[in-house]
């Protein structure tokens, strides 16, 4: 499987999760890349690859800063995403109940509206828990990979 891990971050935690997932996947898959949403153009999204999107939450349930240029480019020229499959992992803090993990959902909505299909469980990490975000993501990964290996 060709896998692209995309991350949007404000404090760096999503980037760390993305790197850890990349290291884990790199041991078993030849073609794994980790990309910052800040320097990723929505037109690059392709049915040839499987996407793991790792995204935190900022402010009032908003996208983190590094994901904003991606969302703006996406809205300016919405890509055709039929055939694209992805999995979503959101970071947030249950301490702020109303906005918990909402940042990633802004991306999830955009992907779904353009025909991409989310596979596997919607992963979440709660900063108020004492789990490390990477541990939660690594525990989430096998289920997502199993779901992704089933042809669409």
């Amino acid at each position: 499987m060709n896998i692209t891990i995309l991350f949007g971050t404000e404090s760096g935690n999503s980037e760390l999760v993305a790197e850890d997932l990349g290291a884990e996947l790199g041991a078993h898959h030849d073609d794994v890349e980790v990309r910052d949403l800040q320097s990723f153009d929505p037109s690059e999204l392709s049915a040839e690859r499987f996407y793991l999107v790792i995204c935190s939450t900022h402010g009032e349930g908003d996208l983190p800063n590094t994901a904003i240029p991606f969302a703006e480019a996406f809205d300016a020229a919405p890509p055709e995403l039929a055939g694209v499959r992805y999995a979503m992992f959101g970071l947030g803090d249950m301490f702020y109940e109303e906005t918990y993990s909402q940042g990633s959902e802004h991306l999830d909505r955009r992907f779904a509206e353009r025909g991409a299909v989310r596979v596997g469980e919607y992963g979440r990490h709660d900063a108020s828990s004492w789990d490390l975000p990477s541990d939660a993501a690594l525990a989430w990964l096998p289920g997502v990979l199993a779901a992704a290996s089933v042809p669409a």
Partner: protein
């Protein structure tokens, strides 16, 4: 055969900006040899000593920074004050590049008459005491029954939360119990928070206000017209700023909602659109005179806590350099090979995550100087190994810190996550496994 020279880079300050900067440099330049200095024996600066003790979820960011030291990518050199123990010139001789990320450790002074009366306290001093900072006294000054809090940013809201909470509000925290107990023995009966801005335009995060509303403590009122106020955004799509302002106004409205219920704790007045004119008193504080919409109002006060920002502390060479160089959010370059980052660069603005973007900017400047040759790396600089032997011997490394960290966790009372020692020499002794004879200068 040529070898690629390894740039020797020193970061002064191990708070969030110093750590973000080190991450950014190592990502772009994995061969760099980084040393992160701190005057304290513990790393992480503001996260450990500035973030409120009852916000452990924010302090969890240190687990990201631990990676820097765990992976061997960066050396921690604690207990060394650059500009005092080691001169900046000596550091610049030993390293190819030096980045100052020392923060702004002092409370910005109030500029109204009476600001130096006994009873006027900085919010940073309060936060440091509650975090057992080695420079802070172990007890808070007596605040009395009437407390006036100047400012409405996140630091002011941290202090307000402290003033309204009882002991149960600190479960699973690392609060300094001696300081807390001193306050709880005679807590405030009335707190007046004074904000120059209207509620919607004030500086605190809406989440911080919602947290206060959700606490079953204190009764809130807003006596002035600048009050819970509608953000009155014009028609059209609301941007994130509008939504933040609206959320802030809604959070204040929730605080003063008559249905919120009568809770124990102090009466809290939130005075928005109010400017302090002077602090009243002769021997010590007795009140604060405010200008509210052109009207002069006197509020009685036993203590005034100012939460109006932070400033440099010019007590050594590095502190003076930072204090005397105006903030420049666009650049951290003080000269080729000398940079500053974080609050030392941009002023005391933004929460921890916002300093990540700023650290990247400064890292990019340094990398651009390396690429252009403005910053030449010839491989001759010794880095940490070139510092005087007594300095190297005195430096507390990351392994030492882990010993102290384990000690703090293992000695924590039942409902605390750690117990911090407020005495720096004792901390050094424990870190070195020499608890019997703690001494900072072996």
């Amino acid at each position: 055969m040529t070898t690629v020279p390894r740039p020797q880079i020193a970061v002064v300050g191990s708070g969030p900006s110093g750590c973000y900067l080190a991450q950014a440099i190592l990502r772009a330049l994995p061969t760099a040899e980084l040393t992160i200095f701190d005057r304290l024996v513990s790393p992480f600066g503001l996260v450990r000593y500035g973030v409120a003790a009852d916000h452990q979820h924010t302090k969890a960011i240190t687990r990201q920074f631990d990676r820097l030291f765990q992976g061997g990518g960066a050396r921690f050199a604690g207990g060394i004050r650059i500009g005092d123990d080691v001169g900046l010139a000596a550091l610049r001789d030993a390293f190819d590049a030096v980045i100052l990320a020392t923060g702004l450790p002092a409370d910005r002074p109030l500029d109204v008459p009476g600001a130096d009366l006994p009873g006027v306290v900085g919010a940073g001093a309060v936060t440091r005491a509650l975090n057992a900072h080695p420079d802070a006294p172990t007890r808070l000054p007596a605040l009395g029954g009437d407390v006036v809090l100047l400012g409405a940013g996140n630091v002011a809201l941290d202090v307000l939360r402290f003033l309204v909470k009882d002991r149960s509000g600190y479960a699973e925290s690392d609060v300094a119990d001696e300081a807390l107990a001193g306050y709880l023995a005679a807590p405030a009966r009335r707190v007046v928070l004074v904000s120059r801005s209207a509620a919607a335009a004030s500086k605190g995060d809406p989440q911080m206000l919602r947290e206060l509303a959700a606490l079953p403590r204190a009764r809130y009122s807003v006596p002035d017209p600048a009050g819970p106020a509608d953000p009155a955004s014009p028609a059209g799509p609301a941007d994130a700023g509008d939504r933040t302002a609206a959320a802030r106004a809604a959070a204040v409205a929730a605080l003063v909602d008559p249905d919120r219920g009568p809770f124990p704790g102090p009466e809290v007045e939130l005075r928005f659109g109010a400017a302090p004119l002077r602090i009243l008193g002769t021997e010590r504080v007795t009140g604060v005179e405010l200008d509210v919409a052109g009207e002069r109002i006197v509020i009685p006060a036993d203590a005034v806590i100012s939460a109006i920002g932070f400033a440099g502390e010019p007590r050594d060479e590095v502190g003076r350099l930072i204090a005397e160089t105006p903030p420049d959010p666009a650049s951290g370059r003080l000269g080729a090979g000398l940079y500053r980052a974080g609050w030392a660069q941009r002023g005391p603005r933004g929460a921890i995550p916002e300093n990540r973007a700023s650290a990247k900017l400064v890292a990019d400047e340094l990398l651009a100087d390396l690429a252009s040759g403005a910053l030449a790396v010839d491989g001759d600089r010794p880095g940490f190994a070139g510092l005087p032997p007594e300095t190297r011997a005195r430096a507390v490394d990351y392994e030492h810190w882990l010993v102290l960290d384990a000690h703090e966790r293992s000695t924590a009372p039942a409902d605390r996550v750690r117990r911090k020692l407020p005495d720096h020499d004792a901390m050094v002794g424990i870190a070195r496994g020499d608890a019997a004879a703690p001494h900072p200068h072996p």
